[in-house]
């Protein structure tokens, strides 16, 4: 007589313990999944470099590099910072464009186009680059950093990116 009662009591307690476990697991999942999602979500987000407008391609002459200053908005969480970046645009043919980051690959000085010598010259340490970006003379460890360009309905666009300076390999900064 006593035994079945004890067994029933034990199974009742097991059931109640399972109900408690179910409540904890259910609430844990219901709150835990959003909490973990919110905590690690932004870490998984890759910041895509934006396409920036260079204007109509008509403003660029074939074989004459042109300097364009771009306003790049960088976002750090809720803080937005504007910075001005320079790029050199070289029009190779009617629909072919090359864009170079405006910073010398040696130590990051701003270089300029010397029309008479038909080459890019960096004033800091006398680095010299060809119109194709190749190093012709001086200390730069690699050719000028090319940037992605594209044409969107009559608008030439570039994707600005910074690279680590002074290294032979091109590594995004």
């Amino acid at each position: 007589m006593d035994k079945p009662d004890a067994v029933r009591e034990a199974s009742r307690r097991t059931f109640l313990a399972q109900v408690i476990g179910a409540c904890v697991a259910f609430l844990g999942a219901l709150l835990g999944i959003p909490a973990v999602g919110a905590a690690i979500g932004p870490a998984l987000k890759r910041q895509q470099a934006e396409w920036l407008s260079l204007g109509s391609p008509q403003t660029f002459q074939e074989g004459v590099p042109k300097l364009v200053n771009l306003t790049v908005v960088s976002r750090d969480g809720w803080i937005e910072t504007n910075s001005v970046k320079s790029v050199w645009i070289v029009r190779q043919s009617a629909d072919q464009f090359t864009a170079f980051s405006g910073r010398c690959t040696h130590l990051g000085c701003a270089y300029s186009w010397q029309a008479d010598q038909h080459q890019f010259v960096c004033p800091c340490h006398a680095g010299v680059f060809g119109i194709d970006g190749k190093v012709l003379a001086g200390p730069p460890p690699r050719q000028l950093d090319p940037l992605q360009t594209r044409m969107e309905v009559g608008d030439l666009q570039v994707q600005y990116q910074d690279f680590r300076l002074g290294t032979p390999d091109r590594v995004p900064a």
């Binding site: 034990a10 307690r13 097991t14 109640l16 313990a17 109900v19 408690i20 409540c23 904890v24 259910f26 609430l27 219901l30 709150l31 959003p34 909490a35 999602g37 919110a38 905590a39 979500g41 932004p42 969480g77 809720w78 803080i79």
Partner: protein, 483 residues
């Protein structure tokens, strides 16, 4: 999970055995969870556990909010906007925290009313009651410090009013107000102060007091429902002593041990009730969060004279009370009256020392309690009744930083001397409310810059100059939000 400490085959047979061997965890488990709860305990006893469960939800959601929050007037609003637009689940977590705060207030107040109604603050639980009053006060302090943090209109204005209230107290008022604000003005120092209070001081205080509260609950056991208790005491005494005589320690323990012997185990018999009730409460909070969300009003704008601040619903009774204590006597209503109420709560176990706990044998306590509840309910109801409909507009309105600048310009340029803006202003020119329905933004912009260019008969002055193109655009952006 049996009554006895489980027999161990070998001290180091498993991980549990290893710890058991050193820490005797089975005895802790036995003392906290296998203890007997007195006979007669019902669902009203689940409210304390539910308060703790909602607090755990607040800690969890609050921690996530803190990951994305910046306590500075420059960035607080932007950081909240970032949270609700960019962070996965950000909006719903913020809404759970918002509704969780309301749930805390509701459950804590119910817990207190039940304790009050049952006379459970009587011997030997006076200290538990006092700690409970402090926890009740901390719950409200959490609410008050929490809603400044988003730095939106409601945050700024409700806190301005709230801290000013402290300033109305004679002699020490100015000092208290300065301490609350961290200076004479509501600003950066107020925000960091409220933030530190909300996320460090109050949680630490609450956890320490909860630890004491829970320790006392386990140490002394929960009270027996008053009807059963009074009958049992009377039965014990028989005709030997009057039921009105003070209860002796021996009487108390004899009756309590009897109830305990007939009671159920905390785990799993009673904790399952706590678990189910708490789960339902938390599900209601989550449902409110998903269904109603939580508003983020426009960014705090100290020049916005049109804003009608309203506190959270659980402070509405204080807000309403202000109206009955005009001028120099205001501090009586907002500081002294609530202060006296707290003093009453503290003194209650010392004043009401009769042995019987049923409400019908405690007429004075019950009348004071009922009057307090009715007064607070009435004041809250009055405050809701008299809330002007403009509040609804303000709630729906969420201005961007540009629009806030625009509104400041509109008020500085005196546009309302001729035009109606947001329900107020002159009738010389057309009302600008609902302009977005009638005019394109380019038209509004050009018109402000040079009215005669679009309408040769216009009497409105041109605003370019004195304003810049960008300023006119800010004004335009704001005007287009008017409904």
């Amino acid at each position: 999970m049996s009554d006895a400490i489980p027999p161990q085959p070998h001290p180091h047979a498993n991980l549990y055995g290893w710890f058991q061997d050193r820490l005797n965890v089975a005895a802790i488990w036995q003392a906290l969870f296998i203890r007997k709860i007195p006979f007669g305990v019902n669902l009203l006893y689940t409210l304390g556990f539910a308060s703790l469960a909602v607090f755990v939800v607040q800690v969890l959601t609050g921690t996530i909010l803190a990951l994305y929050y910046s306590p500075s007037p420059d960035h607080a609003y932007d950081s909240i906007e970032y949270l609700i637009t960019e962070v996965p689940f950000g909006q719903v977590i913020r809404a759970i925290h918002h509704w969780g705060a309301s749930a805390m207030v509701v459950i804590v107040v119910l817990h207190m009313l039940v304790t009050f109604g049952m006379g459970a603050y009587k011997y030997p639980r006076e200290v538990t009651w006092w700690v409970g009053i402090l926890l009740f006060a901390i719950t409200f302090a959490f609410g008050f410090t929490g809603y400044l943090l988003p730095w939106d209109e409601k945050a700024y204005w409700a806190t301005t009013v709230g801290t000013n209230m402290a300033g109305t107290v004679p002699v020490v008022g100015g000092f208290v107000e300065g301490v609350l604000r961290g200076g004479s003005q509501l600003g950066a120092l107020t925000l960091t102060r409220f933030y530190a209070t909300h996320v460090l001081i109050l949680p630490l205080a609450l956890m320490a007091l909860v630890a004491v509260h829970l320790f006392l609950v386990v140490w002394q056991g929960v009270s027996v429902p008053p009807g059963l208790w009074d009958k049992a005491i009377a039965r014990l005494r028989g005709s030997a002593r009057s039921p009105r005589a003070l209860e002796t320690e021996a009487e108390y323990h004899a009756v309590y041990e009897d109830f305990k012997a007939r009671g159920r185990r905390f785990f799993p018999d009673l904790i399952v009730e706590d678990a189910v009730v708490s789960t339902i409460v938390i599900l209601i909070v989550i449902a409110f969060a998903i269904l109603f969300g939580t508003p983020l009003e426009g960014q705090a704008d100290p020049t916005n004279t049109g804003y009608v601040p309203r506190p959270e619903w659980y402070f509405l009774f204080v807000f309403e009370l202000l109206k009955y204590f005009p001028g120099a006597l205001e501090w009586l209503g907002v500081v002294v009256l609530p202060g006296l109420f707290f003093v009453f709560l503290f003194l209650l176990p010392l004043l009401d020392r009769g042995p019987r706990r049923s409400p019908r044998y405690r007429p004075i306590s019950m009348v004071v309690g009922a009057v307090s509840v009715i007064a607070v309910a009435f004041l809250t109801w009055r405050a809701v009744q008299t809330t002007p409909p403009t509040l609804a507009d303000n709630r729906a309105e969420r201005l961007t930083a540009t629009e806030v600048v625009g509104r400041q310009l509109i008020s500085a340029q005196g546009c309302t001397s001729c035009h109606v803006v947001n329900g107020e202003g002159g009738t010389v020119g057309p009302s600008l409310d609902g302009i977005a329905l009638r005019r394109a933004s380019a038209f509004v912009h050009s018109y402000i810059e040079d009215p005669k260019g679009l309408n040769p008969n216009a009497t409105m002055p041109a605003f370019l100059p004195p304003l810049t193109h960008e300023q006119v655009e800010d004004m335009t952006q704001y005007l287009l939000t008017l409904r």
